[in-house]
C-alpha cells in the first residue's frame, strides 16, 4: 500500500538551502519544489552536493541556510509522522547478518503494517518486483554487490511512504536491473508517491524525471 500525497499540493519545498561545514561548501544554495506524484531527479558531478541535499531532505543533515519542508511540515527525522511519510536509502541500510533476504523485508513490513497478511504480501510483492525471488533464502553475505543493492531497495520499499528518497539507486546494477528499478519507481510515482533521486544514470534520469535539478549549475 502506498498512500498518495495530496495530488495537487506541493510535497517537497526547499528554499535557498545550502550546507557549509568547516568553511567548506558542501551544497551551494538551491531552491526547488516538487508536487505529489512527481519525481525530482538531482544530477551533478561528484562532490557537487547531491547526497548532502538528500540528507537534508531526509532530516539527517541540518542545512546551514534556508528552509526545507516536506508535506508542509519541517523535516524532523525523530518525528514519527515524518518517518512514516519519508522512506530513504542514502547508502545501504543496516543489515542483520543472521536474517535472510525474506526475513529482512518481511520484518520491516510488519513494523509498518498492522495486518500480518498484508505485511507478508507487501514483502513478497516487493521482492518479486525487484527480481529477488530466487534469493529469498540467502543471507546478506551471500549476495553479490548488485544483489545487495536490490536488496537494500527492497528493504526501503517494503513499507508505506509518501516521499521516497534514493541516492544513486542504479549503483552496481547492470542495465537490465536498472530497467527493473525504473519500472518499480515509475509504479510508485504513478501511485502518487513523490520521489527525489540523485543519479548518474542517464537512463534513470530520462525515464523518471518530472523535473531535474542540476547541481553543476547551482555550484
Amino acid at each position: 500500500m502506498i498512500p498518495g500525497g495530496d495530488s495537487i499540493g506541493i510535497v517537497i519545498e526547499m528554499d535557498d538551502v545550502g550546507v557549509v561545514a568547516n568553511g567548506v561548501t558542501l551544497l551551494a544554495p538551491v531552491s526547488v519544489t516538487t508536487s505529489a506524484g512527481e519525481a525530482l531527479v538531482v544530477r551533478g558531478r561528484n562532490g557537487t552536493g547531491k547526497s548532502t541535499l538528500l540528507r537534508v531532505l531526509a532530516g539527517i543533515r541540518t542545512p546551514s541556510r534556508g528552509t526545507v519542508r516536506v508535506a508542509g511540515e519541517a523535516v524532523a527525522e525523530r518525528d514519527r509522522g515524518f518517518r512514516r511519510r519519508v522512506s530513504a536509502m542514502i547508502g545501504l541500510p543496516p543489515m542483520a547478518a543472521d536474517l535472510t533476504v525474506l526475513d529482512h523485508v518481511t520484518l520491516v513490513a510488519t513494523t509498518w503494517l498492522d495486518d500480518a497478511n498484508e505485511a507478508a504480501g507487501l514483502a513478497r510483492s516487493v521482492i518479486a518486483e525487484l527480481g529477488l525471488d530466487a534469493l529469498v533464502e540467502r543471507f546478506p553475505h551471500e549476495l553479490s554487490s548488485g544483489q545487495t543493492q536490490l536488496f537494500g531497495l527492497a528493504v526501503v520499499l517494503a513499507r508505506p511512504f509518501e516521499v521516497l528518497i534514493l541516492d544513486e539507486p542504479e549503483q552496481r546494477l547492470d542495465p537490465e536491473h536498472v530497467e527493473a528499478v525504473v519500472r518499480v519507481l515509475q509504479a510508485r510515482r504513478d501511485a502518487g508517491a513523490t520521489l527525489a533521486i540523485a543519479t548518474h544514470s542517464a537512463v534513470l534520469a530520462d525515464r523518471m524525471a518530472d523535473q531535474t535539478l542540476s547541481l553543476d549549475t547551482a555550484a
Binding site: 527525522e77 541500510p93 543496516p94 518481511t106 520491516v108 510488519t110 513494523t111 497478511n117 507478508a120
Partner: protein, 497 residues
C-alpha cells in the same frame, strides 16, 4: 631457511628501515614497559601464587584434574583458533609472493610458526613454573617434581602450537577432533584412573606433589611426534586460505590499532549458513514476540556461537557462586564471572547491535528507536536470566550452600552485563577530546584513556562481576557500577546520531 625465501623476506623487511636511534628508542620503550607495567604484574602474580590461599588452591585435591581440563581446553581451543587464524601467517603480499612460488611452505612459513610457538611455549612454561614453584616454595614438591612439571609446560606449549597449526591446515577435521579432546578431557579430569591413557591426562599425572611416576618418556615422545608432523602440515596449507587469513588478520590488526575493537572482532564473527528455512519473522505474533523469535532464530543460525555464548554464561553463573563461598578469592572469581558474562552475551546481542546501528541511521522500521532496542533486548535478557540463574542455583546445590545470594547476584550481574553490551553497541566513534595528548613524565596518559574507552564494556562488566561477588558484604560497589553503566548508556543514546 632457503636463500630465496630469506632474500624475499629481507626485501620485505627493508620497506621501513629503522635508524639506529629508532632501534634504541624501541629497546628503551620495551624496557620501560617491562619495568613499569609487566614487572609489577609478574611480582603480584608470584606473591598471589605463593600466598597461603594460592598454595592451598594449587595443592587441593582437584588441582591436577583442573590442570588436565585446562590442557584439553587449550588444545581444542588451539585447533579451533587455527581455522580462523593459524600460526603460519605472513603479510598478505608476502604470502602471495612466497606461497605461489616453488619454495616449500615448510620453509617459507617456518619463521612465523617458530615465533608463534616460542610465545605459546614460553607462556605455558611460565604457567607451569608458577604452579610448581608455588608448591616448591612451601616444600610440597622437590626439585624433580618442579623440573618435570616445567618440562610438561614446555611439551604442552609445543603440542598447543602444533594443534594450532593443525587447525589451520585441516579446518574441517579440527572441529570434531576438538570436540573429542574436550569430551575426553572432561572424562580424564573427572576419572583420575583414565589420566595415564591420554596425553592431556599426563599433565595430571605429572602434576607436582601427586606422588605418581611422571610420564617423562611419553611427554618427550609427544613433543617429538608433534614437531615431526609440523612440516607436512605446513606443506599441506593452501595459498588461497593463507591469503584470506592474512588479509583478515591485517584488517583486524588495523582496526584494533585504531582501538575500533568491535569492527576488528566483527571480522571474525561466524557467518550463518544453517537454518535459512526457519521462519525467523512471524508477522501474526505480537511485536515483542516477533522480535524475540527473530533474535532466537538468528542466534540458532550460528549454533557454534550460540553454544559458546550459553556455556560462557553458565560458567559465569558457576564462578559467581564459587566467588560467594567463604575463603574463596571472591573479587577475582567475580571479575572473571563478569568477563565471561560479557563474552557470553556477545552472540546473543546481534539484535541489539542491529538496533543501535538502525538508531544511528535513517529510519527503517515503523517503530521508534527506543521500542526497537527494547524489543531486541528481550532475547538476550531471557537467555541471560535463565542460564545464569540456573547455573548459579545448580552450583549452589552441588557445593551445598544456600542458593539465594548466588541467584540474586547472578541476576544483578546478568542485567549489568547486558547494560554493558547495550552501551558498547551505542558507542560510536571515539570522542575527539580523547585524542588530545596529555604529556606527563610517564608518557602520554591520554593513551590509557583511549584504551579504557575502547575496552569500557569489558572493564565495566568485569567490575560488575567483582561488585556482584561483594554484594553480601556491601551493595554499594554494585550500585555504583550500575549507576555508571546507566549514565554511560543514556549519554550514548542521546548522542547516537
Amino acid at each position: 631457511m632457503n636463500g630465496r625465501s630469506q632474500a624475499a623476506q629481507r626485501i620485505w623487511r627493508a620497506r621501513h628501515p629503522r635508524s639506529r636511534g629508532d632501534r634504541l628508542f624501541v629497546a628503551y620503550a620495551v624496557l620501560m614497559v617491562l619495568l613499569i607495567a609487566i614487572a609489577p604484574v609478574v611480582r603480584a602474580v608470584w606473591f598471589s601464587a605463593t600466598s597461603a590461599v594460592g598454595v592451598a588452591l594449587f595443592a587441593s585435591s582437584a588441582a591436577s584434574g583442573v590442570a588436565v581440563l585446562i590442557t584439553a581446553v587449550l588444545w581444542s581451543g588451539a585447533l579451533l583458533l587455527g581455522r580462523d587464524r593459524g600460526p603460519a601467517l605472513l603479510p598478505p603480499f608476502l604470502i602471495h609472493a612466497l606461497g605461489t612460488s616453488d619454495l616449500p611452505r615448510s620453509v617459507v612459513l617456518r619463521g612465523p610458526v617458530l615465533r608463534a610457538g616460542a610465545l605459546v611455549t614460553a607462556t605455558t612454561t611460565c604457567a607451569a613454573a608458577l604452579v610448581a614453584g608455588s608448591l616448591a616454595s612451601h616444600g610440597l614438591t622437590g626439585a624433580l617434581g618442579l623440573g618435570v612439571f616445567v618440562l610438561t609446560g614446555v611439551v604442552v606449549g609445543i603440542v598447543t602450537t602444533v594443534a594450532w597449526l593443525a587447525g589451520q591446515a585441516l579446518p574441517r577435521l579440527a572441529l570434531p577432533i576438538a570436540l573429542g579432546v574436550i569430551v575426553l578431557g572432561v572424562v580424564a579430569a573427572l576419572v583420575p584412573a583414565a589420566q595415564p591413557f591420554t596425553p592431556w591426562g599426563w599433565v595430571g599425572v605429572a602434576y607436582p606433589g601427586r606422588g605418581s611416576t611422571p610420564p617423562v618418556i611419553g611427554l618427550v615422545a609427544l613433543a617429538a611426534g608433534s614437531i615431526a608432523v609440523a612440516p607436512p602440515l605446513l606443506n599441506g596449507l593452501r595459498v588461497a586460505e593463507l591469503i584470506a587469513q592474512a588479509t583478515r588478520w591485517e584488517s583486524a590488526s588495523t582496526f584494533a590499532a585504531s582501538l575500533d575493537l568491535s569492527t576488528a572482532a566483527a571480522l571474525y564473527q561466524a557467518h550463518p549458513h544453517l537454518g535459512r528455512r526457519l521462519r525467523a519473522v512471524r508477522p501474526a505474533r505480537p511485536l515483542w514476540a516477533r522480535f524475540l523469535i527473530r533474535d532466537a532464530v538468528g542466534a540458532i543460525r550460528t549454533p557454534g556461537r550460540l553454544i559458546a555464548g550459553v556455556l560462557a554464561l553458565a560458567a559465569a553463573g558457576t564462578l559467581l557462586t564459587l566467588a560467594l563461598t567463604p575463603a574463596a578469592p571472591g573479587c577475582l572469581l567475580g571479575a572473571l564471572a563478569g568477563l565471561l558474562a560479557f563474552a557470553g552475551l556477545g552472540p546473543l546481542t546481534d539484535g541489539i547491535r542491529h538496533a543501535a546501528s538502525v538508531a544511528s541511521d535513517l529510519p527503517l522500521y515503523g517503530i521508534g528507536d527506543e521500542h526497537l532496542l527494547a524489543n531486541h533486548a528481550l532475547f538476550p535478557l531471557a537467555v541471560v536470566v535463565v542460564v545464569l540463574l540456573a547455573a548459579a542455583a545448580i552450583c549452589a546445590i552441588v557445593i551445598g550452600v544456600t542458593a539465594l545470594a548466588p541467584v540474586l547476584s547472578s541476576f544483578a550481574l546478568g542485567l549489568l552485563a547486558l547494560l554493558a553490551r547495550v552501551g558498547n553497541a551505542l558507542k560510536g566513534p571515539m570522542p575527539p577530546a580523547l585524542l588530545t595528548p596529555v604529556p606527563t613524565p610517564a608518557g602520554d596518559v591520554a593513551a590509557a584513556a583511549r584504551v579504557a574507552w575502547s575496552l569500557d564494556g569489558v572493564l565495566l562488566a568485569t567490575a560488575a562481576g567483582a561488585s556482584a561477588a561483594l554484594t553480601v558484604g556491601s551493595p554499594y560497589p554494585l550500585i555504583a557500577t550500575a549507576a555508571f553503566l546507566v549514565s554511560i548508556g543514556v549519554h550514548r543514546w542521546r548522542h547516537r546520531r
